[in-house]
C-alpha cells in the first residue's frame, strides 16, 4: 500500500519565490541577478513539471485538464520524502468521486519536498492544480528526460485530440 503523508524530520530550506512558472524557456532574473532557466513540460498522463536548472529541482503537479476530469478531490496520496523515483513510476494517487487515480513521476530523481497543505486542503488540486496544489518537488537525476516530455503547445494539441 502506498505510504501516506508523514511529517518530515528534516526539510530543506528554500528561498521563497513569488514568480509564476512560464510555459516556455524564458530567462528570469532572481534577486541575486543570476540568469536562470525555468522550463515547463507536460506528460500524456496530464502531469506537469516546472524545472529550474539553477537548483536542478522540478515541481510536479497535475494539470488543470486533469483536475477537471477528475471531479472534486477528497484525498491526495503523496510519496515519502527521499523516495527515489524513476520516470513513469507511480508516485501517489488522487481520490475523487470514489475513484482513486494513480499519478506518475514525469521525471526520475529523489523526492525533496511534498505539499503538506494537501492533507488538510485536498481541494487545492481543483482550485489551483498547477500552482498552490503542487504535489511534490523532485531533484532530477537526469534533466535530459525533460526533452522527452510535451511542450505546452504539444500538450494542448494532445488534450484536443
Amino acid at each position: 500500500m502506498q505510504s501516506i503523508l508523514r511529517t518530515a524530520a528534516l526539510r530543506v530550506a528554500r528561498p521563497s519565490r513569488a514568480f509564476v512558472a512560464r510555459p516556455s524557456a524564458v530567462p528570469l532574473y532572481r534577486s541575486t541577478q543570476i540568469r536562470t532557466l525555468v522550463t515547463k513540460r507536460y506528460t500524456t498522463d496530464h502531469e506537469a513539471v516546472v524545472f529550474d536548472d539553477a537548483t536542478g529541482v522540478g515541481i510536479v503537479s497535475i494539470t488543470d485538464y486533469a483536475q477537471s476530469s477528475l471531479g472534486d478531490v477528497v484525498f491526495v496520496e503523496l510519496p515519502s520524502l527521499g523516495t527515489e523515483v524513476g520516470q513513469g513510476d507511480q508516485i501517489g494517487a488522487v481520490e475523487s468521486v470514489k475513484a482513486a487515480s494513480d499519478i506518475y513521476a514525469p521525471v526520475s530523481g529523489s523526492v525533496e519536498e511534498i505539499n503538506e497543505t494537501l492533507s488538510t486542503e485536498p481541494g487545492l488540486l481543483n482550485k489551483s492544480p498547477e500552482e498552490k496544489g503542487w504535489l511534490c518537488k523532485i531533484k532530477l537525476s537526469d534533466p535530459a528526460e525533460l526533452e522527452e516530455l510535451l511542450t505546452e503547445e504539444a500538450y494542448k494539441a494532445h488534450c484536443e485530440a
Binding site: Q2, L70, V74, A93, V97, K98, A99, A100, A161
Partner: protein
C-alpha cells in the same frame, strides 16, 4: 459503433476477494502490455463475492486493525483495497461489476468523473427500468432509494487510463445483516437496501445480469459480447483458473456468525 466491443463474463461461483483482485491486476497488466499493439480487450467482469469487508485506499492501517479483528470473527474476510471510497461489504446476493476499460479509446479521452457518472447512471437506469424503483438523488456517489437507504456503491481505480474495481448492487436481502455490522461508506445513519426489499419480489443475481449488461453497453456506447472462454489465451486462462479455485472452496457463511 466505431469502438470495439466490451467482452463480459459472469462468474457462477461466488469468488474470494483477494484472488479476484489479483485477477484484476493480472488482466490490467495484460491490457497495459497489449495496448502497445492495440490488441488489448475491454472487459466487464460480473460476479458475487464470498463474504468480505473491504476498506478503501485512504483508510490507514491503524484505523482498520480493530475492525479487522471484529469483522473476521463474523465469518467474513477483510481486505484493504486500492480503490477509492471507504469501508463496505460484498457477499452473496449482491452483484459486483468490475469494468476493465481503456478510457483512452474514447475520443476525447473519458475522464474519471465521466466514467464514474456513467457507471452510476447504468445502475440507476437498471433499477428504474427493470424494477420501476424510484431513486433519491444524492450528493454522495452511489445509488440511494431514499436519503437513508443505499442500494448500490461505486469504488474504482484508474491507472494509465485503465480502470479496475467498479460497482456493487444489492439484489437480495442477504447482504443486509452483514452491512448492519458496519458503518458503510462513512455514512453513519444509512442502511443497505436491496431490490428484493424494495420491490417485495423474489429476485436472483443471475436474472439481473442480462439487463444490466445491456444497459452498461448503452451508457458506455459499446456493443457487449460474451467473452468466449473456449479461446485459449492469457485472459481466458486467468479467468478459468479463478473460477475453478472458487468452485473448490467450501460454502461460505450465510449470515454473520454471532
Amino acid at each position: 459503433m466505431a469502438l470495439p466491443p466490451v467482452f463480459y463474463h459472469f462468474f457462477r461461483p461466488p469468488l474470494p476477494y483477494l484472488p479476484a483482485w489479483n485477477l484484476q491486476d493480472t488482466l490490467h497488466r495484460l491490457q497495459l502490455q497489449l495496448r502497445k499493439s492495440a490488441e488489448h480487450k475491454d472487459l466487464l467482469l460480473l460476479l458475487q463475492h464470498r463474504p468480505v469487508y473491504t476498506a478503501g485506499r485512504r483508510q490507514t492501517d491503524p484505523e482498520l486493525d480493530s475492525e479487522r479483528i471484529r469483522l473476521t470473527a463474523l465469518g467474513a474476510d477483510f481486505v484493504a483495497s486500492s480503490r477509492g471510497g471507504q469501508l463496505t461489504y460484498h457477499g452473496p446476493g449482491q452483484i459486483v461489476g468490475y469494468p476493465l476499460l481503456d478510457l483512452s479509446r474514447y475520443s476525447p479521452i473519458m475522464g474519471t468523473r465521466d466514467y464514474v457518472c456513467r457507471m452510476q447512471k447504468t445502475l440507476e437506469l437498471h433499477l428504474k427500468e427493470a424494477h420501476g424503483l424510484t431513486l433519491s438523488p444524492s450528493e454522495h456517489t452511489g445509488v440511494f432509494l431514499d436519503p437513508r437507504t443505499k442500494i448500490a456503491s461505486i469504488g474504482v481505480q484508474v491507472r494509465h487510463r485503465l480502470t479496475s474495481h467498479g460497482f456493487a448492487m444489492n439484489v437480495t436481502h442477504e447482504p443486509r445483516a452483514w452491512f448492519d455490522q458496519i458503518v458503510a461508506c462513512g455514512l453513519d445513519d444509512v442502511k443497505a437496501g436491496s431490490i428484493e426489499s424494495a420491490t417485495g419480489k423474489t429476485v436472483t443475481v443471475e436474472d439481473e445480469i442480462p439487463g444490466l449488461v445491456q444497459r452498461f453497453g448503452r451508457l458506455y456506447e459499446r456493443e457487449m459480447l460474451p467473452l468466449d472462454l473456449s479461446q485459449a489465451n492469457s485472459t481466458t486462462e486467468a479467468i478459468l483458473a479463478l473460477e475453478q479455485e472458487a468452485l473448490e472452496m467450501a460454502p461460505s457463511a450465510k449470515a454473520p456468525l454471532k
